[in-house]
């Protein structure tokens, strides 16, 4: 283990480490802690110059106010309407492509694989004008469906990479054995491989949920009205309305961050397994 385990060090170092941990964490999360505290401060505190001290009262009504005075509830609902279908669509497509690329040897396998991989790296901006134009022509501009279709297509690249590598690592004997038994390829996919892919599916669903929830660029490019905009794009316009009302901006920011944060803490193991794919040989 590197560095040397702290238990093997002198007591002074051990205590020093235990003290340093919370201090380092506090400094690391300082901006976030500041915003969290601001979000429960009454407006009068800020007006009176109490920026850093403890709030004079816990103003839960900041949260009530953003839900009643702004369309943030609608924005959050829109985010769900974009995120959940995207997760499902991407998983369906990438289970299929991952299976095809992970199990079979055929001409062009590696080239199709690298098409998916390379497509992942492109800057979004090169896709912006054509994708927006296409969405307009399909009559899907400013709809959640238009946004979902693009996200599904783009995320399929990353998910195919993930699924294919995952399937490659499965024991091949299972598939060979099923073939010898005369099981058809479709049934092998459904009854043999798919059940084994559960961990990969779990990891990708959390990751994609977070990526799509947090997407801002495509939300601003493909949606424009409060009936369709996800919460990231919504926060941008609310930020314009709430100039200098930091208690509201902070509360809005916290609310927008909550769903992916909850997802992360609930499914941490899967999340990290997905993110660190390839970090270990």
């Amino acid at each position: 283990m590197f560095p040397r385990p702290i238990e093997q060090q002198s007591q002074a170092i051990r205590i020093g480490y235990q003290v340093a941990l919370p201090i380092a964490l506090f400094l690391w999360l300082l901006p976030l802690i500041g915003v969290a505290i601001t979000s429960v401060k009454p407006a009068s505190d800020l007006a009176a110059g109490n920026y850093f001290g403890m709030p004079s009262a816990i103003a839960v009504n900041n949260y009530a106010e953003i839900f009643t005075q702004s369309p943030i509830g609608q924005y959050i609902w829109n985010s769900f309407k974009v995120t959940i279908p995207t997760v499902i669509g991407t998983l369906v497509l990438s289970c299929l492509t991952g299976f095809a690329l992970g199990i079979y040897r055929f001409r062009g396998n590696i080239w199709i694989f690298f098409m998916f991989v390379a497509g992942n790296f492109v800057p979004f901006q090169i896709l912006m004008v054509p994708v927006r134009d296409m969405t307009v022509n399909l009559g899907l501009y400013n709809t959640t469906t238009g946004l979902v279709l693009f996200h599904v297509a783009f995320q399929t690249g990353f998910c195919t990479l993930f699924m294919r590598n995952f399937i490659r690592a499965l024991p091949r004997e299972l598939i060979e054995a099923a073939r010898v038994e005369g099981v058809s390829e479709f049934r092998i996919f459904w009854y043999v491989v798919l059940p084994l892919m559960r961990p990969a599916i779990a990891a990708l669903s959390v990751l994609i949920f977070t990526f799509i929830w947090n997407d801002y660029f495509w939300a601003t490019v493909l949606t424009t009205s409060k009936e369709t905009q996800p919460v990231t794009a919504g926060l941008y316009s609310l930020n314009g309305q709430w100039i200098a009302q930091w208690q509201l901006v902070s509360a809005g920011a916290i609310v927008a961050a909550l769903p992916p944060v909850a997802m992360f803490f609930l499914m941490q193991r899967h999340f990290i397994a997905g993110l660190t794919l390839g970090a270990v040989k």
């Binding site: 560095p3 500041g34 915003v35 991989v117 134009d133 296409m134 297509a153 970090a279």
Partner: protein
């Protein structure tokens, strides 16, 4: 009747004989189709559109390389390009910083798991929220950072209003989640480091920095590769923070190519799709330099693995 039976029978055997060949293609069709339509073809379309003068609605006029000629004379383009270089260089700090935090946290004391998750936290929240958090942090007169500087030097600095400092301020905000990302990659990598090699090196008297440099880092190569890849991509995609924190200002001094492209193509100053596409092409070409390197390495690994 008998003909019909033998017909379905022969079709069935044909399928049975060829299903191993055909199944991969059937499975690939939907995914590949989607990806071609929404990702691969638009890349070429953007190249093509960059030769047009087009407002996104009316007729397109072919103007050849005029968009690029205009671009190379455009002050704002150079500002954006310069900022992109700054982003690339400074964003790389996330890699050693992430390694540093990972080493700091790679212990087995009580509660360390919770510490690791909380250190990772900034990566989970949206860049829009990160941008708002840092906008508050930097805000003149009452922002925490502003006050710290005022307390330390006597006069506060409004980072986001200063054309010379604004980009550094935004990059610092971007580093926060990026360091967290690199940290988690290295924590996973450190977990897989071979303990026997470390023990052997310890017996040889290696420790501290020499141990890190000669024994640990070579074993962390896959993690380092990933960290560099995601950091380069992150640096070139830096759009969200610029848009949220400054909208490119003050006086356009914090623009980056991705933001300037968006501004030209879709802003209130009028839709200039062709010009925007030309900026996107430049950004894409810069990215290509890196992508081809990454892909090259991946193809190489793949060949060795086969």
């Amino acid at each position: 009747m008998s003909i019909a039976i033998s017909d379905t029978h022969s079709r069935r055997t044909w399928w049975r004989e060829n299903q191993q060949k055909l199944t991969p293609y059937i499975f690939l069709i939907p995914g590949v189709l989607f990806f071609l339509v929404y990702v691969i073809i638009p890349i070429f379309e953007s190249f093509w559109l960059s030769g047009y003068d087009w407002d996104g609605l009316g007729a397109k006029t072919w103007i050849g390389l005029d968009n690029y000629r205009e671009l190379f004379d455009d002050e704002a383009f150079y500002t954006s390009l310069k900022n992109n270089v700054l982003w690339l260089v400074l964003y790389m700090l996330a890699v050693p910083a992430g390694l540093g935090i990972a080493i700091f946290l790679n212990q087995k004391v009580r509660g360390i798991r919770a510490y690791k998750s909380l250190f990772f936290f900034p990566f989970v929240i949206s860049q829009v929220v990160v941008g708002l958090i840092f906008a508050w942090f930097y805000a003149p007169n009452f922002g925490l950072f502003y006050n710290l500087i005022e307390w330390a030097t006597g006069s506060g600095i409004a980072i986001l209003a200063d054309p010379n400092l604004v980009t550094y301020g935004i990059i610092a905000a971007g580093l926060w989640p990026q360091i967290a990302y690199c940290m988690i990659l290295y924590l996973t990598g450190l977990n897989a480091v071979d303990p026997e090699q470390i023990e052997a090196a310890r017996l040889d008297g290696a420790k501290g920095f020499r141990m890190l440099w000669y024994v640990i880092l070579p074993q962390l190569r896959p993690a380092t590769f990933m960290a560099v890849v995601v950091t380069v991509i992150g640096a070139l995609r830096s759009f969200d923070l610029v848009s949220i924190m400054t909208d490119g200002g003050p006086f356009g001094s914090s623009r980056v190519l991705s933001f300037y492209m968006f501004e030209q193509a879709l802003s209130e100053y009028g839709y200039r799709m062709g010009y925007g596409a030309a900026i996107a092409v430049i950004l894409f070409l810069i990215m290509m330099v890196f992508i081809s390197g990454f892909i090259w390495k991946m193809v190489d690994d793949e060949r060795k693995g086969l």
